[in-house]
Symmetry: C2
Subunit: 169 residues, 2 copies
DNA sequence: CAATGTTCTGTTAGAATGTCACATATAGGG
DNA sequence: CCCTATATGTGACATTCTAACAGAACATTG
């Protein structure tokens, strides 16, 4: 699925799907989706937005744990978050947005195709594109000057359909 | 000119052209190419590579000034460099490479077309592409999902022709 | 189970990148 | 020359990311 989800879509579904896909992938590859890793991924899955590593840590600290009210686990150290993000990225479950120094849950885990990002400057939502046309055009244009691309970074900032709609009103 | 320059090209020419273009642009727009700004730009023009702001500062500190041997001006503070880079970017004389947190002198100042970057992971050189095909394809693919792009970030890491050639030997 | 090696997490410190606020200097226009 | 806008200096600080080492959890083997 490419592009931005509807504003009122069933996001619980996105989230559950994301976690399920993660479990499946780790199972298949013999890696471990530990509680920490799952929690970091879940924080990212909570919104279609990118978060900095420190924001993730803070959010994890804020989440109440256990039944006792007010009980909250301490936020993990930055190092821990970065390590966990490295793992999730190596699994293709999380992407880094270089232009934001921030991270986002992958929308289509399992696929390994090169991906482009659409970043709405207004609402902050991020969507993935998997345009074969873009990938091909870029690869070909580079080839034309003898360059061999192996890590394309394509991040398009602008306005999403919903924010354009709102502006028009 | 798109793509990587020949390894043995006359780089003094690149550098002189870059400075000349900068003077012309600032003249036209009524802005001032002060000694500081000129010096920062010149440091970037010295190579077809990207440099971090702190590297630029250090390089400026290292450059000898005046005739007395060993005399070197102190490196400017980070803030000064960032401010100067902001100016040069606003003039279109310098670009920021988001995926490297680094800056590079524009290869075609004056042009305001959207640009793509080719970054050689091996030799570190960076070339600009001005592929109309890429720009169009990207814009169109975004439009197809209702997204309006206004700041594309396209940075392609890989291997340049010369490094590929060297590897093949 | 016990011993052992591997992977994962905690912790501390520090490097690298970027910004704020305020002081000073400099250029240009009456 | 004075005044104002612009440019630069300076110090502190915020943010992002990494290195190094210690301890915990897990898996494997004898
Ligand atoms: Zn959703
Ligand atoms: Zn939006
Ligand atoms: Zn050159
Ligand atoms: Zn190269």
């Amino acid at each position: 699925m490419s592009g931005f989800p509807a504003l009122n879509h069933d996001h619980g579904h996105c989230r559950a799907d994301g976690l399920a896909a993660a479990e499946k992938l780790c199972e298949e590859r013999g890696t471990r989706l530990t509680p920490l890793r799952r929690q970091v991924l879940d924080v990212l899955l909570a919104q279609h937005r990118a978060m900095g590593a420190y924001d993730i840590a803070q959010e994890m600290g804020a989440q109440e744990t256990g039944v006792a009210e007010g009980s909250s686990k301490r936020a993990p150290a930055a190092m821990t978050v970065y390590r966990t993000l490295d793992f999730l990225m190596s699994m293709g479950l999380v992407h880094k947005l270089e232009s934001l120094n921030a991270f986002i849950a992958c929308a289509e885990p399992g696929e390994t195709h090169p991906v482009q990002f659409l970043i709405c400057r207004q609402c902050g939502r991020v969507a993935e594109l998997e345009s074969e046309a873009i990938t091909e055009t870029v690869t070909r244009a580079a080839q034309k000057v003898g360059f061999e691309v192996d890590a394309p970074v394509i991040e398009l900032t602008g306005r999403c359909p919903d924010c354009r709609q709102a502006a028009r009103a």
